[in-house]
């Protein structure tokens, strides 16, 4: 292995994911590759040397020297408004990574997988879904994706396309589309019991989202009998922006 260094990264593509989130693709010469679920640190430097730094999950499996992030604009934030609104194709940031060896899914893994994402916590889970598809893995995946309303859906079109072995449940916390039997509300025991795997299947569970979401989802998984060592969590904290 190696120690981490900051590398120049050039924006090569920026696509709107929702009204407030964009998928950004960077070219990072010398990129060593990464595993699904890992994240990067992004550093911005102003012309007088002032810097600001944030962590973002990688949204897609390794593809040469391309690194794909999905960034939600934090109102009044410092880094995300720059990345999503100011930055143009050809502009540069610095990226350090990949980092994190805990919240990762490896394509050779054989256990069924339960992915539980809250809001932008879907991003590293999407990298796992894409890595599974790319590797032709037969491991069954279930995704429970909790979000405020249908307009906040990331990767909507891609997740609508059939992906054999991937089951999907959307949970809406504020307003659900018409015709859905589940009323809008926070994630509950039944959601995980119905949309997940029985604990006896010994699935690997990955939970990612805001701290409060992660803690309640992880507690519910424990209550359903999942072993603590099979529940991996990653929290998006208050220092975002």
């Amino acid at each position: 292995m190696r120690r981490l260094v900051w590398r120049p990264a050039e924006l090569v593509e920026s696509v709107a994911e929702t009204a407030v989130a964009r998928t950004l693709r960077f070219r990072v010469p010398g990129w060593p590759g990464h595993l699904a679920g890992q994240h990067v640190d992004v550093r911005l430097t102003a012309d007088d040397g002032y810097t600001a730094q944030r962590s973002y999950s990688i949204a897609a499996p390794a593809d040469g020297d391309l690194v794909e992030l999905t960034v939600e604009t934090v109102p009044d934030g410092e880094v995300s408004p720059y990345l999503n609104e100011v930055m143009q194709v050809g502009d540069q940031v610095e990226i350090r990574g990949p980092v994190g060896g805990w919240f990762v899914w490896r394509t050779e893994s054989k256990a069924p997988v339960l992915l539980v994402g809250g809001g932008s916590g879907i991003v590293p889970l999407m990298a796992m879904i894409r890595a599974r598809r790319l590797a032709g893995s037969r491991v069954p995946f279930r995704l429970i994706y909790s979000l405020r309303d249908p307009e906040r859906r990331y990767y909507a079109e891609e997740l609508r396309r059939p992906d054999p072995g991937l089951d999907l449940t959307y949970l809406y916390t504020r307003s659900a589309p018409d015709g859905l039997s589940r009323p809008a509300g926070r994630i509950m025991l039944d959601d995980l019991a119905e949309g997940g795997w029985p604990a006896s299947f010994e699935p690997d569970c990955y939970v990612c989202g805001p701290t409060a979401f992660v803690e309640s989802a992880a507690d519910l998984l424990l209550a359903l009998g999942h072993a603590p060592e099979r529940i991996r969590t990653e929290r998006f904290g208050p220092t975002g922006g």
Binding site: R96, V99, G100, T211, A212, E234
Partner: protein
């Protein structure tokens, strides 16, 4: 519910500058209460003025990391041991 802290996954980048192995997937033991678990599951406050990782069991500080230009200070007095997988 407050959401003031991150988790140990947030240590991966800063510790990756220092160590050649991924410390966040190592298993640590809290010097205060003895709880054993992955570094990734610690409660992490910061990153400024420094990263402070606390035990999810007893809230005591198990690791601190301060980064200055050209220097890093790592304080592990709250950690009894770190067990990690290393390539042979």
């Amino acid at each position: 519910m407050t959401a003031e802290h991150l988790d140990g996954n947030a240590l991966a980048g800063p510790l990756g500058e220092i160590f050649a192995v991924d410390v966040t997937s190592a298993t640590g033991r809290c010097a205060s209460c003895g709880l054993t678990g992955p570094v990734a599951s610690l409660r992490v406050y910061g990153p400024d003025p420094g990263l402070v990782a606390r035990c999810p069991g007893c809230e005591e500080v198990v690791l601190r990391l301060v980064r200055a230009p050209g220097t890093a200070w790592l304080d592990l007095r709250g950690t009894v041991s770190l067990r990690m997988n290393v390539p042979d």
